[in-house]
Symmetry: C2
């Protein structure tokens, strides 16, 4: 049977909102990989009474409790003391931990303080995780069927300690492995994806298929649980295929990070180059493309032509096109795409012109109206009018980001 775990982040700076608790996400992802269920995250300050209460409750209801923070040298740091009190543990000095603290101070060229000696004290019988990146060792206690793991708070100490030592330690208590496949979908909304996939797929328990809506995108995650990684992969595979069959070309990638990554890879594979002409997105499309390592193979020139004068001077958009149809129009978008194609000598030219707001909207072209044109050296040219206002916070930013995603997707469609 799979074990249940919960996470406790200790530190007044968390409950004051000075820092965001990122450990809970990191540890939850790792435990999911190990097939260990996480049911609760708790954060509590450096207060002995409340900390003790939280530990008591966690040990009472979960098989595995992972605490982060509160292992420092000061009097505020109480995690170890409270765990020992709750679990009835004796302590002793761990010589190897002590030596490792001494070695750490040597390495950074500072003098060890009396306080730091406290950090080498561990519960009798604990598994100790030595710390290469700080002074506090981590530790794990296994008593009465409960496993309690204590980790240092700084991410630069916790993350490598977990990856290098704690992951293996916990793997020995797990009898299942989870494998997840992430399919990224663009161009259809979450409810449409839900309808298309249907209840049979979405309510199945192994593999599970879950949907996550992101701005303008949907992530479909297929997760299989089995005794070994290979078996889990085999379980996931037919479901992944089924999802791809149902959603077709709306699935733009499997286990990829972004549309720009996929588009740059397609361009590289096809030995094609791209050039961009942007108005309302102001360079966001070019910067998305160039954020991908190796993009210099496919990208040579992008023009951010905010002013009409520049659209004419740099891209050769005829003044009468702008006068007759407006800078935000199908005709201007097409002229921009063809202009950048000509100026750059690229295989594909993509142009975006629209109204990102908050000002500039009109009755016929409200904020969120965006024209995107994609033209190719072979004479193809597609242009689409989008309405991208969603009435949410940071409307301007959202319109700009959605414009870039739609432009990348139009390029992807032309490359297919």
């Amino acid at each position: 049977m799979s074990k249940n775990a919960e996470l406790i982040a200790v530190g007044t700076e968390i409950i004051l909102g000075d820092i965001v608790n990122t450990h809970s996400q990191f540890l939850s992802q790792k435990l999911a990989e190990l097939g260990i269920n996480v049911f609760y995250h708790t954060s509590v300050g450096d207060n002995p009474e409340r900390l003790k209460g939280v530990i008591e409750q966690a040990v009472g209801r979960s098989d595995i409790v992972i605490l982060s923070g509160g292992l420092g040298p000061t009097e505020d740091d109480l995690t170890k003391e409270m765990v020992c009190e709750v679990m009835g543990l004796e302590t002793c000095r761990d010589q190897a931990a002590y030596d490792s603290i001494v070695a750490f101070f040597d390495k950074i060229g500072k003098t060890m303080t009396e306080n730091n000696k406290k950090q080498a004290i561990v519960p009798v019988g604990a598994t100790v995780f030595y710390n290469q990146n700080g002074t506090a060792p981590g530790m794990a206690v296994n008593k009465d069927g409960k496993i309690v793991v204590l980790l240092p708070g700084p991410p630069s100490e916790l993350i490598p300690m977990f990856d290098e030592q704690v992951y293996q330690y916990l793997a020995s208590f797990s009898d299942a492995v989870l494998v997840s496949k992430n399919l990224r979908v663009f161009g259809i909304g979450e409810s449409m994806v839900e309808t298309k996939l249907g209840n049979g797929l979405l309510s199945a328990s192994n593999p599970t298929t879950a949907l996550y809506a992101k701005e303008g995108q949907v992530l479909v995650r297929v997760t299989a649980r089995a005794a070994t990684k290979e078996e889990a992969e085999q379980l996931a595979e037919p479901v992944v295929r089924q999802v791809k069959d149902i959603l077709g070309i709306s699935v733009y990638g499997e286990d990829v990070a972004s549309l720009e990554e996929v588009v740059v890879q397609m361009l590289r594979d096809q030995h094609k180059t791209i050039a961009t002409a942007e108005s309302c997105t102001g360079g966001l499309l070019a910067s998305a493309i160039t954020s991908i390592p190796g993009s210099s193979e496919v990208f040579e020139f992008g023009a951010v032509t905010y002013a009409n004068r520049i659209k004419h001077a740099v891209l050769g958009v005829p003044n009468r096109v702008i006068e007759q149809h407006g800078a935000v129009s199908e005709e201007t978008a097409v002229a921009m795409a063809k202009g950048i194609l000509k100026e750059s000598g690229a295989d594909i030219g993509v142009a975006i012109t629209g109204i990102a707001g908050p000002g500039g909207g009109s009755e016929h072209k409200p904020v969120g109206t965006v024209y995107i044109a994609v033209a190719s050296k072979l004479g193809e040219c597609n242009v689409v009018r989008y309405s991208l206002a969603r009435g949410k916070e940071d409307e301007r930013g959202a319109i700009r980001r959605l414009s870039v995603m739609n432009a990348l997707n139009m390029v992807r469609m032309m490359l297919i």
Copy 2:
């Protein structure tokens, strides 16, 4: 006496580690401003039994409980139902909430589903917070000396709802007010800021002065606590002045969001325009400038000249400059800045050329070497070589972002 609060984030995606719980930080900071103590953060999945247990415990031990998430239209969304069960509340349909959901669907041009009607059901006697950015209204219940607030999960809905409605609602239960002033610092590191400000300032208790290091920047936050907002403002003011005196022009703004916001405002105030020529940042500088509403007053043209051929063709950078000194050089940066100045007719031209990696580095110009030049119509021209590699994760992204910040700061210095 000040009230004690705790926060509960509801959602399986949080305890699976799919998303990070940022609401707890946001809400903790806001409650701190209101002088309300936060003692616990809890995250729990969409499981009725465990959710109910967490709510029971919270209502038992805290004066104010704020729940986020689980107000959606689907069967998984159970927060409201469990709160009503724990607190013994009857429910009814809130007509204004219903109308607001209908209006929201009208606005985005979609059809309301049967499910969404559930979102207009509220506890009898609840204070309802209408949602401008989504379908789920927020609500607050005040019963038996316990205040329970329910907020929608998406940040784009929760944040404006809290700022515009919930903050005021909670302020009526608090007897202390915190005022924070945020001073943003660029160009000196956290430890240098710490040394300059000194222990006297940093250990004072009211106002407190706290430092937060962000990528390439430091935030200095001065927080004063008093009975009224005016008194707190008066307490904070001399400390803010002292910090500004000590750090000088490294402080680029007070309660501003970003360097680009400050630079665009300075350009607008001085009626000046700017143009950009980018190589390694690939449009990121232009997109930072154009992310600011009203930037069209100051920005007309940006060129992303990735290829050397384009640096020559579009910016007129002489081929011999690139051949002799390389595309990543002081000479090329200056020629790019002067070139974009000439092409655009702007008052200020700024150019970035560098090696963002992962490839392209050499012994004399390793990854992270970036040249930035700023030239003005009046003949001024500054150029600086930066070494921006920090050896951290997403090195390419970090080098690009730090290049943009340094470029903006160089423009700011020229405008002062």
